[in-house]
């Protein structure tokens, strides 16, 4: 029991942060699946969602500001795609990626301009920010909710992709971009839809993430964004279950590092962030396309 109360907080935090990474990672993996684009701006959209919540909740009641934040984030995600990625549809992949880096730069600098560089305090959302006790370990309720909410959302998403018409179009587009266009799929609608879904999940992720880590700074999106992308690559980029599994593994492992830190005499806590990358490099060494990735073959 003593062991449990000492180590359970780390496991809980790992599962919860894994769920939050999963919600962001889905946005990366879906966009990559269709456009073959590392959407570097995704982590910053996550940050913008957090920042909007700070400003909206200051003047509006929480039950209005939460849906408003989600809607606005979706609109931003949609707009970014239309303005920065759509004009480059026929350009080489490098240009689109640079455009993504440009958007990320712009969003960060806008956030810096608006906040003045100070960390903004994220509002406490009633009920999910409450302190509760699980097996003698004290934590916020959001920690327990996150994995369930994540899995619920993933199931809905998988159903959407497997059963609906737009889902079928997405699968077709990720299989073969050009042929799907020839088959009459309106590719721009499909791409917009992936960005809408991705931004929606990022907004939900930001609600959960910032309830735990409450300081919102202009560059806070970079690290979770990067780790979520690592999770997506880890699981095999383009695969939604892969991204979710990868995100949970990375979330749990980085908290296991913190847990192990209690027992050994050397301080290894600053390897928490680096550990995700180490895992990635190890898995890529053995499976160059990730856990669930399809094997790539080059045709001459």
């Amino acid at each position: 029991m003593d062991w449990l109360s000492k180590n359970l907080p780390f496991l809980l935090a790992g599962i919860s942060v894994g769920g939050q990474y999963a919600l962001i990672a889905i946005g990366y993996t879906m966009v990559y699946g269709i456009l073959r684009l590392i959407n570097f701006a995704h982590g910053d959209i996550f940050m913008v969602a957090g920042l909007m919540m700070v400003y909206l909740s200051a003047s509006l009641p929480i039950y209005i500001s939460i849906p408003l934040v989600i809607i606005l984030t979706v609109i931003i995600g949609f707009t970014v795609e239309r303005v920065a990625y759509k004009p480059l549809r026929s350009a080489p992949r490098m240009s689109v990626m640079i455009s993504a880096i440009g958007v990320s730069y712009l969003l960060q600098n806008l956030a810096l301009y608006i906040t003045g560089g100070l960390a903004q305090q994220y509002p406490a959302i009633p009920w999910i920010s409450d302190q509760i006790t699980v097996f003698g370990a004290s934590t916020k309720r959001v920690t327990v909710i996150t994995p369930f909410l994540t899995i619920f959302l993933v199931i809905i998403l998988v159903l959407l992709i497997k059963k609906t018409k737009i889902g079928m179009a997405m699968r077709a587009a990720s299989k073969d971009f050009e042929t799907s266009q020839l088959m009459g799929i309106k590719i721009n609608n499909v791409i917009s839809m992936t960005f809408i879904i991705g931004s929606f999940l990022a907004a939900v992720g930001s609600l959960l993430f910032f309830s735990n880590y409450t300081g919102v700074t202009p560059t806070i999106g970079t690290m979770p964004g990067l780790k979520a992308f690592v999770a997506a690559v880890f699981g095999g980029i383009g695969s939604i279950p892969g991204a979710v599994v990868g995100a949970f593994i990375i979330g749990i492992c980085e908290n296991l590092v913190m847990m192990a830190n209690q027992y050994i005499s050397i301080d290894i806590s600053n390897f928490k962030d680096a550990f995700a990358f180490l895992l990635l490099i190890i898995i890529l060494f053995f499976k160059p396309t990730g856990l669930f990735g399809e094997k790539q073959t080059d045709k001459v």
């Binding site: 590392i38 880096i101 690592v230 980029i237 990635l280 490099i281 001459v300």
Partner: protein
């Protein structure tokens, strides 16, 4: 004949450039508003080197690597660790009893060692990483840069790297004089250009254009990729050492992924696959971000009208919008894949004048 002419003109231009730099340096006082020009020239030349080294990988070999900031960090740390004077070490390494290294190398040796250390790390990292392709390679190199960053801040390595505290008090010739970074960067860029024009360079370009075809033509892929990666990291390490001098202190956390993205932006704005493009764009990039747009950060009042939006941070917003416009509407960058060359311009002028003369003679 022509080659000789180009060589003479090139050397003459270099001398003129150095003289102009020297004149600028002597005449601009640190208080004047032109003092920023010197900062831009110093930092621009340092970034030019790292941008060209990244271009060697991304533009000429087609290896999409995002580890440049990590290698710069290795270079910066190596330089700082080995050149801090012995009597200063007690103060710099105050939490680690003066550190474990108790000698100091001269600055020039420190720079070379910085490059060698970065190249050594690159060689080791390249063994597992260079088997990966495109985006996987990018994320793996980015990951290695992050791991390095954590390693250099590790408390257990404190006697060597000073943990998460900054390193300072080392000799800083590149911050004292504009000419120093120009000469070092210039020599390094010249070496890179020579490499690109050699048989190795042609093999790199073949790999970029089509890996399978290149392999079929008898190019050893693994060997050439490793050379490109190691050489590029060597020069990234040297530019890291120069940056350490310029900043007068080194801290691992400033070498983050945002820095790599910045360098990548410079390369792309200059034109992927153009050395001169990278050089021009790094000066432009640094000038815009540090100097030319600075007026946007201050409040301006024209008559009774206060210009809206202008306050601290607005410069960066405008700057990122400019970058977006360039990326969206000038996809090729400033130079595309062309090179800017003096002899090309001279040929154009003299060719035209000769033509004009002939036409004049006929009539």
């Amino acid at each position: 004949m022509k080659k000789k002419r180009d060589l003479i003109i090139g050397l003459a231009l270099i001398v003129v450039l150095l003289v102009v730099l020297r004149i600028l340096e002597v005449n601009i006082s640190p208080q004047s508003q032109w003092a920023m020009l010197l900062t831009v020239l110093k930092k621009g030349s340092i970034y030019a080197l790292v941008a060209v080294s990244m271009n060697l990988l991304n533009g000429f070999t087609g290896l999409f690597s995002l580890g440049q900031a990590g290698f710069m960090m290795i270079g910066a740390y190596t330089y700082a660790i080995f050149t801090i004077p012995v009597d200063q070490r007690e103060m710099v390494y105050m939490y680690y009893d003066g550190g474990i290294i108790q000698f100091a190398l001269p600055a020039v040796l420190g720079i070379i060692l910085a490059g060698i250390a970065a190249a050594l790390f690159a060689f080791l990292i390249g063994i597992p990483v260079l088997r990966l392709k495109s985006d996987y390679l990018a994320i793996a190199t980015l990951g290695f840069a992050e791991i390095m960053k954590a390693l250099f801040q590790w408390d257990s390595l404190g006697p060597l790297t000073n943990g998460s505290n900054m390193l300072r008090s080392y000799p800083t010739p590149a911050s004292a004089s504009v000419i120093y970074p120009f000469v070092v960067s210039g020599i390094c860029i010249a070496i890179i250009v020579m490499l690109i024009n050699s048989t190795y360079g042609r093999a790199f370009k073949a790999i970029r254009d089509d890996e399978i075809a290149a392999e079929a033509m008898g190019i050893n892929l693994a060997h050439h990729k490793r050379i490109a990666f190691t050489v590029s990291s060597f020069f990234a390490g040297i530019s890291g050492a120069l940056l350490a001098m310029f900043q007068t202190n080194v801290q691992a956390k400033s070498f983050n992924s945002a820095m790599t993205y910045e360098i990548l932006l410079i390369v792309v704005i200059g034109g992927i696959g153009s050395v001169t493009g990278s050089v021009i764009s790094s000066f432009l990039f640094i000038a815009c971000s540090e100097w030319l747009l600075r007026f946007l950060d201050e409040q301006h009042v024209i008559g009774d009208f206060t210009v809206p939006l202008l306050r601290s941070g607005f410069r960066k917003v405008v700057f990122s919008i400019i970058i977006m416009v360039i990326v969206l509407f000038f996809r090729q960058g400033i130079m595309g894949t062309r090179e800017f060359s003096i002899s090309g311009i001279i040929d154009k002028i003299t060719g035209k004048s000769r033509k004009a003369k002939r036409e004049g003679g006929n009539s």
